[in-house]
């Protein structure tokens, strides 16, 4: 089964139908392909970020060889070269020369809350960024010249991403399911300002300071939430990082209010938020049941999707379910049996997208032959 450029509209409609809780003609199969594509095309990350054509060919090779109805993207999902130029301490290429990884690089000290809250832009530029970007610590004007180059490269990255979207749609016939990225301010604070362990400790020791710091970021991030008259498709993407580490109580206090606003405002504008719910979210499912039906598409990672279907499946569109580990280590028959079980439980009535639980990061993450045959099988088994 090959991807056919003529099928673009049909494939796009599968996602729209299932997200309206209508049964599509076939269950849509979503790709979650990241750095895997470079290794699959026998290229390194360096070869790809230095040559956009090599980058495009790598992702196109995956999409030419494996059947999908929609994809999460074509190419790297952030301007890696610009970050390297800025001498980031955050990102690096792993030993396989393919997988892009990141360290935590959040340097805010516990006694700096007031400074951050009172002057966030000054603090982020002159302290947070200064501490983690080597280029900013170089003498002027050498640092300025490199900084200018990095800003220009970030703009070029946006243009290349737009061109890759056009290529995916017009040449490969594959819709990119989301356009735009929305961040939760609590995740931004957790990932990039205060850091993993300090944020979790501060939520218990200084909850008012943490809440105020999160609110400080709102004016800079709420502009990414659409207001009105947004096309239904593509959806808007969001990755949620901190919730899996929060109790139900902490989630309700620090994460849920802004998250609910992101979801409902996006839905009222005409489209939907597709959230990658990292880790396990079962402890938060009660909150998701407060949402309007069909407002959220939840890409589940470590939750049992069949259990999720029973608890939130009437409200939330579920995506995921297929374990990457089974595609890697299981037989094809085992993969098919597992897929059947998920489809039988989740697909009736719509509201389900078939995809892997985790993103493909390395060429060794899966048995490619299994995935090719599995997606062909789901394409047929998932026919209405």
């Amino acid at each position: 089964m090959k991807n056919d450029p003529k099928d673009f509209e049909i494939k796009k409609q599968r996602f729209i139908d299932t997200c309206r809780f209508q049964e599509p003609d076939r269950i849509p199969i979503q790709a979650k392909v990241a750095n895997f594509a470079m290794g699959y095309n026998c290229k390194t990350a360096k070869e790809c970020y230095e040559n956009p054509q090599t980058e495009r060919e790598s992702w196109a090779k995956v999409y030419n060889d494996i059947y999908y109805d929609g994809i999460s993207g074509l190419g790297m999902n952030f301007p890696f070269k610009a970050y390297l130029d800025l001498e980031t301490e955050t990102y690096f290429i792993s030993r396989n020369q393919v997988t892009l990884q990141h360290h935590e690089s959040a340097h805010m000290m516990v006694d700096e809350y007031d400074e951050f809250i009172n002057h966030p832009i000054t603090y982020i530029a002159n302290k947070a960024a200064y501490r983690k970007l080597g280029v900013l610590r170089k003498p002027y004007p050498e640092n300025y010249e490199i900084l200018k180059g990095a800003f220009i490269e970030m703009e070029e990255f946006k243009k290349r991403s737009a061109a890759n979207r056009k290529y995916a749609e017009e040449v490969l016939g594959l819709p990119i399911i989301t356009s735009g990225n929305m961040s939760h301010v609590c995740d931004v604070f957790f990932d990039f300002v205060r850091g993993f362990l300090p944020t979790l400790a501060d939520m218990r020791r200084y909850p008012d300071k943490v809440l105020k710091a999160i609110e400080t970021l709102v004016p800079y991030y709420e502009t990414s939430i659409p207001v009105t008259d947004k096309a239904e498709f593509p959806f808007i993407y969001n990755t949620c990082h901190i919730p899996t580490f929060l109790s139900k109580q902490l989630f309700g206090k620090f994460f849920w209010p802004y998250y609910k606003r992101m979801i409902t405002q996006t839905f009222e504008s005409g489209t939907r938020l597709m959230s990658f719910c990292e880790g396990k979210w079962e402890q938060h499912f009660d909150y998701l049941n407060e949402l309007p039906k069909g407002a959220l598409i939840a890409l589940l990672e470590s939750d049992d999707i069949i259990k999720a279907q029973k608890i939130i499946g009437n409200k939330v569109i579920l995506a995921g379910g297929m374990p990457l580990s089974l595609i890697k280590y299981g037989t094809l028959e085992e993969c098919k049996e597992y897929a059947k079980k998920i489809i039988d439980a989740c697909a009736p009535g719509g509201g389900f997208i078939f995809t892997t639980d985790k993103t493909l990061l390395d060429v060794n993450d899966i048995n490619v032959a299994n995935l090719v045959e599995l997606n062909n099988f789901v394409h047929e088994y998932g026919k209405r």
């Binding site: 960024a129 990039f192 800079y220």
Partner: protein, 40 residues
Amino acid sequence: MEKTPLDMVRQYVEETSKPDATEKEKAKRIDDLVIAFLRC
């Protein structure tokens, strides 16, 4: 003369903004560029 990161962002915005850009538009660009630092 040394410049802070925020000084350099302001300089970049001054040098690359359209001649008819308003102060409000420039301030928004400065904010957006600084916020982009967080992910780097």
